[in-house]
Symmetry: C2
Subunit: 447 residues, 2 copies
Amino acid sequence: MTLAVAGTLMQTPAPDQFTVTDAVVEVDATGAIVAVHDRSTPEGAAAGRAALDAAAERVELAPGTFLMPGMVDLHVHAPQWPQLGTGLDLPLERWLFEYTFPLEARYADTGFAAAVWDDLVPTLLAHGTTTAVYHSSNHLEATTALARTCARHGQRALVGRVAMDHPSGTPEWYRDATASEGVDASAASIEAVEALASPLVEPIITPRFAPACTDALLEGLGELAESTGARTQTHCAESDWHCGYALDRFGTTDPAALDRFGLVRPRTVLAHADHLTTDDMALVSGQRAGVAHCPLSNAYFANAVFRVRRALAANVRVGLGTDIAGGARPGLLAMCQDAVTVSRMLEDGVDPALGAAERGVPASRIDTATAFWLATAGGAAVVDLPVGLIEPGRRFDAIAVRADRPGGTIRLWDGFDDEARIFEKVVRLAADDDISHVWVDGASVKP
Amino acid sequence: MTLAVAGTLMQTPAPDQFTVTDAVVEVDATGAIVAVHDRSTPEGAAAGRAALDAAAERVELAPGTFLMPGMVDLHVHAPQWPQLGTGLDLPLERWLFEYTFPLEARYADTGFAAAVWDDLVPTLLAHGTTTAVYHSSNHLEATTALARTCARHGQRALVGRVAMDHPSGTPEWYRDATASEGVDASAASIEAVEALASPLVEPIITPRFAPACTDALLEGLGELAESTGARTQTHCAESDWHCGYALDRFGTTDPAALDRFGLVRPRTVLAHADHLTTDDMALVSGQRAGVAHCPLSNAYFANAVFRVRRALAANVRVGLGTDIAGGARPGLLAMCQDAVTVSRMLEDGVDPALGAAERGVPASRIDTATAFWLATAGGAAVVDLPVGLIEPGRRFDAIAVRADRPGGTIRLWDGFDDEARIFEKVVRLAADDDISHVWVDGASVKP
């Protein structure tokens, strides 16, 4: 069934750049975008009219509602959803062992898992997350169920069973018993997700992070990635402790160590990565891997701010992640706000006792357009999915945001707000309740 | 008319401390809290039952809905409401001259002012802001209208006409023509607000900040504060530029300069103040003035993070401010999240190129309880209003927050969330739509 959507399209084809188009988007029966007609020209207006007339389904957005690309959340710990908002005054080690691991261990209970997935996935869709890259738990059944839930609710997703076997970095009641069991279960999870044959959901190989994995497990998962071609994800160079650990154990930086195991590959998602050195950035860029920048979670657990501008200048692919539950705001519009905020804090520094020149890192700030680009096209490029922009050849993953919902906080004032201000207000102020439409692969999936 | 409210009361009597009580709150006909009955004891349960039976109006909150003190926003620029969310990638000087001053100048139009006030005040009430400390514009009529709007919607408020006359710090099209005109208009505004005879609304003397005011204006306003006893507010030591300006012009820190003009007084609200020196903190504490900590706005315009822990240790009164529109999240629950987040960033630092020991300021982090205390009891103490805690002798300014709204993001899981986690989830995750009840002075005022 073909679809045509008419309205004001706002999107970000590149960092620092946003465009506004009075558009009709034409979508074919497979969910692919066939054309974007610009109604500001007579030809475009006519073609748009024709597309609307021909479409089996047409949506004409009201003035004050804006069509935008759906967002790509590169880092979601699905099993941590029940702990969202808690324990965020703790250091990472305590947070993991007191909150996170005991919770994740509960997903051996498939009924519990099903209840959580069935709440999480539609909630993220409602927040405009049309693609999510999930860490599941280390349970095969729960992980397959998560993939099935995404397919059922119509969310595009990469779903990874977490592998972790290190006797000192994990609790004995929540780990793979041996490296080979971890590799075998990862392979089985790839097969189980692929067996769903969903056009939306793919597997992703997921060693939790080097401190939770033995060399044998890391090596086995690198080989699995090579043999299957599946994507990979892991936490990378997240904190001082994490970096120091890698240096002690491997004698090198964390990304260099991961690379030795074949785990820095094209389409690899490296979560956090805020401590990347210049050499690390060259490695990540050269391998065509990318970074899930998690601005809010990093404030809690990463000891520093990811240098977005420097990474982009080094040709590192970068997108955004909520890092649920380390980041306790479940949508990427919120992360756009936070990405801008922490970039300003990186630029200016934090300690008033220091002089201005010693305090920050000049030229670190990003604007709202760059943040939204990270949340859409940037993230799509990291995982190499044809989404993140509304343009011919990509899939129609999109949202519509109302700027005029009673009870909302977006306010547009006639004669006062130009396009740049409208875009900034929508990205910075929209709540999930302002998102009126959500499409994935051309299908309406708003819960 | 008497009121009794029954439910689970969560509040923060002191920093780092939260309490949970199964309570019946008894409110007299004037809006004062008469008793808080703790139903966990047989006597308290009986007294609570009796209070409910005797009350003219009773509210029994459902399980999963939590009674909390209303919040005190110490710093709101009311006329900046239409620009919320915009221009936040600009430096302060451009933001003021390109966005803020042109907008504020429009409040000469009383019809425009009325439309904005009538939108802003109920929106803030809906976000749980039961007390707001407002900077209005420099227009007498618009300022009186703002006070009238607060009284009509039932919001407790301090309303200040902004005084600013400095020829180089303000545009000629938006300033007081002379210092004496600024003082006279400030005096007239005090009288106009007091003439409303509202029990909820009081005036506050409001020199914008030293760079926008001549010595004669600052001196005149200090004398006005002394002669009238009215509260005062101003921006203080907000940015590197602001501090350097004070040093150049006055040969001293900004707070010390303000103090010379008699503008650091009991109940004075010093907005931002993130660059206070140790001596400044002693001055502010000794004068019984206080700080409006604006964690989000400070990330944009203040060049550093306010050191909450150090200020509290120095006996400085501290509360929270949104700094609308510098802070583009219009409620204080959001500011609680941000206050915790920026305190973590102050503790850990931001620049990954620095060693951990050189990067941050140890022992700076605050927890969620401290943040909520700042938003309630802390802010109430700054302005010396009998609110911020639900206890006998204070006014009944309160909110109720639903943790179970369909479409909300708070999730409580049986057998998993203890009281500390519930409190943290509610404060960190509640959206304005989760706030089911708002009372000010014993009256229900939810829009």
